[in-house]
Every structure is written in structure tokens, then in C-alpha cells.
Amino acid sequence: MKTASSIALAFGALLVFAIPRVAQADLDCLGCHGDKVDAGVFGASLHGSLKCGDCHSTIKDYPHPDPATPVKCESCHTGEAEGLVGSVHANRAEHPCTSCHGDAHAIFPKSDPRSAVYPLNIPRTCGNCHGNDALANKHGLPNVYPMYLDSIHGFALSREGLLVAANCQSCHGSHHILSHTNPQSPTYKSNIPKTCGSCHAGITANYLGGVHGKAVASGNLNAPVCSDCHTAHAILQPTEASFRMQSTPICGSCHKDKLSTYRDTFHSQLGSLGGYVETARCWDCHGAHDVLPASDPKSPIAPANLVATCGKCHAGANTSFVQYQPHANARNRKLNPALFYTRLFMNLLLAGVLTFFVIHTILWLVRSRYQQVKTRSAKGGNNG
């Protein structure tokens, strides 16, 4: 009996303490609003110690006006509200706090997996709008959510559950999100190295020492930053075949002459066929982040380093072998005279032989056919 009564006592205590922080007055509210507000979840949430009236401050009596005045979160969260001012989400009617933070009666700390802004939940939260084609079109934005999900950051987050994997707010911030055209934005072109560098510090240091990093730092915004090569949302593992296949044209979008001469070489010819992604791409020779001119002794394409650089793929590369010009232009007589005349000779040979024999063969065909028809009709005449 003693056991039974203590169980009953514990059960009673549980009933009393299960909703420990909901006051009697609020229980009155829940009498009607219990269908919308789960007292248990609310009680456990960040705002569980607050009374209904703390937020719904305009409601004093019953019956009360319907609909109620919207809750003003900024009466407590002043910093966040200030952040929103001037941001892309500044319009509070379009972007109420709950559009990101979720159910107002179930707000949890961002370290809590139940929170809509828990790192692993952020992409889905943002994706509610930014994974929506109609919305993307309306605002002239790319539909970034699916791109992100398939990116290396997205995989790290969704597959590995890696909390440090970059999610939306790692790069864009949270309340004070600015357009990438705003120089204050962490996604403004010249700020991107710093933004990515907040995680990729080593790579960023390399990058800042290279020609591209220096150019951007000196204000040349034509030079590429991280996202120009890696893209912003659909970032791939750089050793992946698809990245190796897609990236040469990215370098070529600025270095047009170099892309054109690269395309003439065997490196490009076999590289573009796929299935053989090892073929030298731009950064295999030039370096990826710390690109340096050939005149810099630290550059992998500095004359003294060429044997080592080419030797990464070509075992047995020697000083004569590295005289090969990976960007030779057979159409330029001044730069590559030997190659120019080789190509000219081969083209003349090709054109000469084919021209002569095409004429020869066509004349022959016509004459043979004429002869054949004539002979046959002559025979037919005789037989007749």
C-alpha cells in the first residue's frame, strides 16, 4: 500500500509541476487558446517564464478584440530590431520575426535542436522562402536552397550534421542581412575573402598573398574572390570531377586569350572529354589561391620550378621537356614562329592535296559516268 500511495503522490506532483511556470491567469487564456499553444512546450521554451500578457500587452480583459494587435518583439529585443532596420528583411509585415524563428510559443535557444535557428535547421528555415521559385523570381534572386543543399557545405551540414559547416547566416549574418551590392555586406565582393576567411583562414591568407587577393585588396573588383571560382551556394569539393570539369571556363571568362591557347593543347582536348579529370587545369600549374606571376620565384610556373610542377604529372620531366609551351599560339608568328610555320605547312599540305584530288576525283567521276552511259547505250543499240 505504501508503494501505491507514493506512486499516486508522485503522479500528483507530476501533474502539478509539469506546467510549472504557467501561472493561474495564463491557464485561463489556455482555456480558449489551448488548441494553438501547447502549455508544455511553451513552458519549456525560452519565453516560458513570461505571462501571456507580457507579449500580448494590449489584451487586458475578456472578451477582448479580435484580431488582437500584433505582438511587438522589439519591446524586449531592441538590438535585433535595430539590426533589421535597413536590412533586406526590414519590412516587418513581409518578414515577421516568426518567419525565421518559427512558432512564437515554441522559441528555443539557437543551441537547441528544436530551434528554427539551430545551425542544422537554418538552411531549411531560410529555404522556406529561398527555396521557392515564385519568390525567387519575384525578387530577382536565384533559388539558392537546392544549390546549397548539394554543395559541400550543405552535405557537411545535412549528411554529417556538422555544426561548424557554413549555413546561411555564417555568410549572410542574421538580422542585419544586406544585399551583396551593399559595401557593408559580408557578401559584398571585396568582403568575401574576409567572410570565407572566418573559417578558411589558411586558404584566405594564401589568397591574399596571390595576385588576385592583392588586386581585390587594392580595389580592383574585376579580380576574382572566392565565390567567383567556387560559386556562392553550389560550392563543390574542388577535387571532384564536376568541379574540375566546370572550372577552366571560369578562369577563362577573364583570361580569354589563355583559355583559347589552352584549348589548342592536348591538356584541354583530353580534359574536355571527361573520365580523365587529372589532366592539367589552370590551377594545377598556376596554383589555386596564391596565384603568382612567372617572374615571382615562389610561383609554380617560375622557370626554376617548372620541372617540379610539370613533374607532378609527367614523371621524367626534364629541363628540355618543360620548354613545352602550354599556351603556345600557333596563329601568332611573332610569339611562336616555329609553330606558326609548322601549322602553315601542314595546312597548305592539307589544303593542297585535298583541293587537287577533289577536283581530280569529281572530273573523273563525271567522265566515267558519261563513258559508262555512252557504252551501255551503244551496246543496247547493237543488241536492238
Binding site: R263, D264, T265, F266, S268, Q269, L270, G271, S272, L273, G274, G275, Y276, T279, H314, A315, G316, A317, N318, S320, F321, V322, Q323, Y324, Q325, A328, A330, N336, A338, L339, T342, R343, M346, N347, L349, L350, V353, L354, F357, V358, H360, T361, L363, W364, L365, V366, R367, S368, R369, Q371, Q372
Partner: protein
Amino acid sequence: MADLQQAAEGKAQSHAGERYFMRFTRAQRYMHAVLFTTFLGLAATGLPMRFSESFWARRFASGVGGFGTIIFFHKFFAVVLTVAFLIHLKEVFTRGLVHREKGIFWGNTSMVANWKDVKDLFSHMRWFLGLGLKPQFERYAYWEKFDYWAVFWGMIVIGFSGYAMWFAPFFARFLPGWALNAVLVIHSEEGLLAILFIFSIHFVNTHLRPDSFPMDMVIFTGVESEEEFKIKRPEEYQRVAAEGKLETRLAVKPPLWLLNFSKAVGYTSIFIGLLLLVLTLSAYFGS
């Protein structure tokens, strides 16, 4: 000619109907078979590399397993063709220099061009225009000799430049740096010339022209009818007849299976060749 006569011996028999004469030995036919199969293979694997930006090259590459497969087969066919070429060289030198066989390096039966070829070329072209009589060709006509030497030269040029790329670090020991750039230009242009020439000029001259249409079977069966022999190579026919050696060249009419087999192989090759020609031209003028 000794081997031709030997090959024909024992096969000679009197026919009530048309007589057949031996033109190519078994070894020569096999050499041509190796030559055109490896050539088709080299063209089919080389063109996707030459025109790697074209849609069909990428489709083909992804269909067969990418560049790795393509270059593997390209090198495989190249090695087979190189071996065949070396065998041919050995044959020529053995017959010409060791056995001192007449007619290898000079004369009516030689592949080496002579004054008659020059005259034949000009009189042939006069005949095209209706300005003269058709020349009387000997065993090898001038365009056949051109085919032979074009392949011979192409083999050396394409082969050398190809091996220079395959073993670039080795060749770099004695070639200047720019030569490593030049070999790709040489290889691809000469290869393109060979492909365009064989799949258009050679096909038409040898197989598709009215006298041989749709295909000259002599390279597959080795024999041709007396009428063909007389019409196509009248001077050789008269010479052999004058020497009284026609009988030694007599052969049996090719069996039906050989004709059908040859047709299947030949038509397939011509089809593949013409397909590659169309793809080449589309990529060349499309880019």
C-alpha cells in the same frame, strides 16, 4: 612477282566461262585488312580528341568510358599499325635487297613513281575533259602509288609525332622545346588529312567510282575477272600476255562466302568511314 605466281600456281584451272587472275597475295590482303581496321580505329578514337569540344566527341567519350578508354584504344591500334608497318618494311627490304627481286624499287611493277606516271596523270586529266584517249595503266596507276606513298609518309609523320607525345619526356632529351608543341599540330593536321583523304578520295577513286561501284572486291578476294584486268590495267595485261605468263596468274573465281564476307566487311568500313567524314566536316566547319 614471284610470290604472285606461286600463289596462283595450282589454282589455275581452265574455266568454261570467265577467267580470273590473281592481283594481290594473301599477305597483301591481310596487310590491307590490318591497315584499314587499325586506321578506322585510330580515326574513331583520334577524332574525338581532335574535336573534343564537339557534342558527338563528348557523347562518344562518355559512352565508352571517357578519355582513358579512348586513348587506350588509340595507342593499341597505333602499336598494331606500327608492327604492320615494320613487317611491311622488312618485306620490302628482304625482297628488294636480300633476294634482289627485280621490280621492287624500279620498273613496271614497282611502287616507285616513274615518268609514265607523270604522263598518265596528264593524259588521264585530258581524258576527263574529253581532250584525249584514256591512258593505258600498268600494274599500279599513279593514284594508287600516291595512296601508297601518302600512307607511307603519313605513317612516319603521324607515327613519329604520336610517339613523341606518348613518350614526351624521353623525346624531349633530343628534341627542342617547341617541337613538343609542334608534334600535336603535326599529328592532328596530318591525321585529319589522312582521314579526309581516305574517307573521300580513296573511297571514291578505288571503290565508289562507276567502274568499281559499289566496291572493288579485288583487295578482299585477291582476284579479278579477265575483263576487269583488261579494262583497268590494259598495259599490264598486254605485258604479261606478251611475256606468256598469263597462265601463271590464273586463279579461281572467289567463292560466294568470301564475296559476301568481303562485302559485309567492306560496306561496314565504308559506312564507318563516311560517318566519321560527316562528323569531321561538321565539327570542322561547325566550330
